[in-house]
Symmetry: C2
Subunit: 237 residues, 2 copies
Amino acid sequence: MNSTSVLAELPLLERRTLSDTVYEALSDLLASGRLAPGDRLSLRQSAAALGVSVMPVREAVSRLAADGVLEVAPNRVIRVPVMSADAFRALVETRIAVEGIAVARAAELRTATELAAIRRTEAAFRAEAEAAEPDRARAVQLNRDLHFAIYGACGLGPLQEIIARLWLKAGPVINLDLRAHPERLRQGFALRRHAEAVVAIENRDGAAAAAAIAADIREAAEFILTRGGLRDVQGED
Amino acid sequence: MNSTSVLAELPLLERRTLSDTVYEALSDLLASGRLAPGDRLSLRQSAAALGVSVMPVREAVSRLAADGVLEVAPNRVIRVPVMSADAFRALVETRIAVEGIAVARAAELRTATELAAIRRTEAAFRAEAEAAEPDRARAVQLNRDLHFAIYGACGLGPLQEIIARLWLKAGPVINLDLRAHPERLRQGFALRRHAEAVVAIENRDGAAAAAAIAADIREAAEFILTRGGLRDVQGED
DNA sequence: TCACCCAAACTGTGATCACAGATCACTAGC
DNA sequence: GCTAGTGATCTGTGATCACAGTTTGGGTGA
């Protein structure tokens, strides 16, 4: 009935269910490392804490569990999985491969606008990291923003979703370590690799960009592995 | 208390919830193309058909929806998404990139046992495809078996999970097309590419193996795209 | 004959209840 | 003093109910 097709441009607003909200809340807890590997989770307690019934929490948890971000043991205990060193290495190799593709494509396809956004977030991260008293949580968030600003330019939606899931999976162990061992040299490495990546993206040099991100990922992983923060058996203490 | 450590070898039996079972049932429907893009799904009807309550179906659907294999519209209608041609192309490019990594690694790392298994499934697919009256459903399954036999040799668990999800997402449109247009030349291409891949894997030639699989994927996709089986708008008829 | 409207029958979402199994603290028995 | 047993209390899972919003079909109006 209504006149023109101006309406056709409406972004088809997405509905937010309580489950979605709970999912994001839990994701945030995991990504920020406040839920550490081995931590247990109770449906009822979580529901009470969030002020909802167990239903939305249940759905959110089952989604997280499907992604391997949470696991429910045969004892019916929900917890964030403790990764063996080998599993962590496999995850890191996967990340290097997949994120390498994304950043290589991004370097070759990025528009001027995207490059500007990447530069901006890189600068923001650098500023936070070099601050006299850096806010760790904020640095983590900015690091994530930078990576995804890059991946966002790869032109492949499905690939970005995959990477987001990988980050969710790696988040607890990485950020737990970051909480345990205040950043120090980690950030020095990250800053250098980020700078290399940005330069490579400016030059549309996909291979160099992928190498920089690969080094960024690998160095952070090595740092954690040498710290011995990962147990090889899944004991609890 | 119990004597020896024979118990330690028990495979830690995984529990199967009803949700898991429903999830597999729906996945199978989608992977085999019996649920086509645009088809709607009702929680209560599905539950009744499966002889369970809506709860397990709800959880399974929410998992599928999280993976983008199903979508629930703002109208609260569950359906398998209709992919635009562009979205399909992005999915195909992602598959080529990700599965390319897996097959390249598999070619370089495969053991003799894994190679034998790959050869076996390749032969099985060839036999079915060259049969006088090939069973389409079985051919689809064998094609899948072959691909995953290869990816299983890549040594990266997380990567295999990613690929499985990608297949689930691409399954409906690919298999719907396969149902609509009886195989014909499609299989001729597939046979050649599979043979090339197996040879490359025998020679531990990662690049060649990746190229063969990329061609396999791309040719199937081109076939579908030129058929015009994909709508560019998400209308319903 | 066509357009409109209203009511009945659906839809998914969320809350609540019921249940089997696991955990843990406590106590009875040696 | 230590172990084995036992009951209360927790766990996730599944079923059922309640609700608001949507769809749909039949009927009434012009």
